[in-house]
Assembly symmetry: C2
Homo-oligomer: 373 residues x 2
């Protein structure tokens, strides 16, 4: 067996890529409330009415996904047909926002579902596929939409239902990431395969391009794939509490598998635990002998201003971690401000049927090790 | 870049594994109607009341998934902790049957959604991960349940709604597959890591096992990952017509990518096109210059006896292709009766929200090349 990883330890859940793939570009498309939040200036595109020219929230979400993919591809100077496989998902039943959103791109695709952890799942599989040499470019994309998620999981917006303080506010947004296979970074300035066709002159053979491909300084160094963690909680309006055990499990597993502690990361960034989930996470992690308080950021607590935006526990949804990663986290790694980050999007595994039937809400979290290089 | 595949052709959607992983075991768990059908004798386990001891259809489906996984692991003589990653999915909103079903196994997991094509998606990703050396054992599992699917997509069973002749009958069943990394087949008789602990005597170090690991003669030689194909059809009660274009696209793409025709396969096996979809598939494929009529089998037309079981267009669902593959197809490849099979599970990408909002029902199909070895 040709081992792409250092070693496969029984019981370990992690991979460290010998030749790590790169995130060569990322794009974020968000709604109006997100644009008014603390990260507002950092997003690539914001919609004015959250419908993005569509007739329904679901179509609007699909439109965001497509736009995020197109923007990310543009930044990578790559075309859709350059992308070998797409890994995407969302929160809606039967992942319909993704199916309808990426259809126009005509990229061979794997539909995913990991609740709000899906951006981690997509980046893990895109990274694994690129590191294995299954293609040069992979695309990872996720989305969520406040309107479609409220309809899917709670009540139509028109009902104006009251929300408990432990509830999250689903982020309207989509983040897309172009992952490139390792080993080509030094060649990127020569860009032999694809050039900007803007000269108007006929080209002969492999000429030098007008515009070099984008260099990346962010690599996916490894992944820790999460297990389903169930502490038996049943409150779908307190997802932070449901997801915190899974975040703890994946973070501690990552430390164990890779022989690390919180000291080895500049930041440990969860997806959408919110204020309730964060405090539980700190307690659970402390119970395992680690203290991540100095290193922890939660995307759901970063994307909105809780005091002025009335978002209660914080932002959530497949889009929350994705657009925060694309707009806020990756540029800091790109610049070298942060050298190594553990990105841990978290998901609450439930459906309206499951919690109405009395089932618990287990969590899952996937860890992605991102490094400046 | 270390290429695991022969070459990556731009526009191609396929991988041919240089070192192909094996399907070392498979298991099928089905409901009572499936047990009464033409394949009834071949399934590993059948439920008497389709509830499998659970209180709801959803819990029943989860139970089937867990049982199928446990059975497949048992046949492979492997424990859950030997499995590196699990790839699973189902038809229910938020993939809840899988989340609840595989939770007890505590295997790091990737949740998938590809409608009824999910067994192909799961086998593709499990095969890709095993071929890349990301772990020795991978587990692929999918399920569907007539009761939960009718509730999800149509009407509760108690309504006794009439069904058009083009409608499918969702298969109650779950199929699980243990995929093993390549390059270890010759060593399997020695089985150094895990043995049957049935001797009652203490074991010292790596002794020879009582029972050798199962040898496999079925390998995943390659995959063709499907694109979303949308001919604009909107009839959710005629899924065969919605999925046939995707099946054609993947089959023809496989022929093109691998330089093959129908003559290179002993069988081309679609998931659940049914009688309506099959005739459309034949026409569409003929339009591309191929004739697969002599080689084609559809799992949905195989699992039920249309005449006596009143299943209209045929069986469908994530479980349909999976249990037919596990019980009927793989043993024939194992024995060498069929040397090379193109397995093409097909999915109709829709949700109740999408078709009630007037969206079309696009299809997707993934091709898995299975070879006797």
């Amino acid at each position: 067996m040709d081992r792409k990883v250092d070693q496969i330890i029984k019981g370990s859940q992690s991979l460290i890529f010998k030749n790590a793939p790169y995130i060569v570009s990322a794009a974020s498309v968000v709604g109006s409330k997100e644009a008014e939040g603390p990260l507002g200036e950092l997003f690539d595109m914001a919609g004015e009415d959250d419908l993005f020219g569509a007739q329904t929230w679901e179509e609007a979400e699909s439109t965001m996904q497509k736009e995020a993919c197109v923007l990310a591809l543009g930044k990578a100077n790559a075309a859709a047909e350059d992308v070998r496989y797409l890994f995407g998902g969302d929160l809606l039943r039967q992942g319909i926002a993704t199916s309808m959103g990426v259809e126009a791109l005509q990229i061979p695709m794997f539909g995913l579902y990991g609740a709000c952890s899906t951006s981690g799942e997509a980046l893990a599989l895109a990274g694994m596929s690129a590191a294995a040499g299954y293609g040069e470019y992979m695309l990872a994309v996720t989305s969520s939409h406040f309107g479609s998620a409220e309809k899917e999981f709670r009540f139509p917006l028109g009902y104006a239902s009251q929300r408990p303080l432990s509830a999250h506010w689903t982020v309207t947004g989509s983040g897309a990431f172009v992952v490139r296979a390792p080993g080509r970074r030094d060649e990127e300035q020569t860009c032999p395969e694809r050039v900007q066709e803007d000269s108007g002159l006929p080209r002969k053979g492999k000429t030098e391009p007008k515009e070099p491909k984008r260099k990346s300084h962010v690599r996916i160094a490894g992944v820790t794939v999460g297990k389903i963690v169930d502490y038996g909680l049943k409150d779908s309006q307190n997802m932070g509490a449901c997801m915190a055990p899974a975040a703890m499990d994946t973070i501690v597993q990552n430390f164990t598998d890779m022989g690390r502690t919180e000291a080895d990361y500049d930041r440990i960034i969860t997806g959408d635990l919110g204020y309730v989930g964060q405090s539980i996470l700190f307690d659970l992690v402390r119970g395992k002998g680690y203290d991540i308080r100095e290193k922890h950021i939660d995307c759901g607590m970063t994307i909105f201003d809780q005091q002025t935006q009335d978002t209660h526990a914080g932002g959530s949804g497949c889009g929350c971690a994705a657009v925060t990663l694309a707009s806020f986290v990756l540029p800091k790694i790109e610049k070298g401000e942060w050298k190594r980050v553990l990105f841990v999007p978290t998901g609450a595994l439930m459906s309206t049927v499951s919690y109405n039937e009395g089932a618990s809400v287990p969590g899952i979290a996937h860890g992605i090790v991102l490094e400046h290089c």
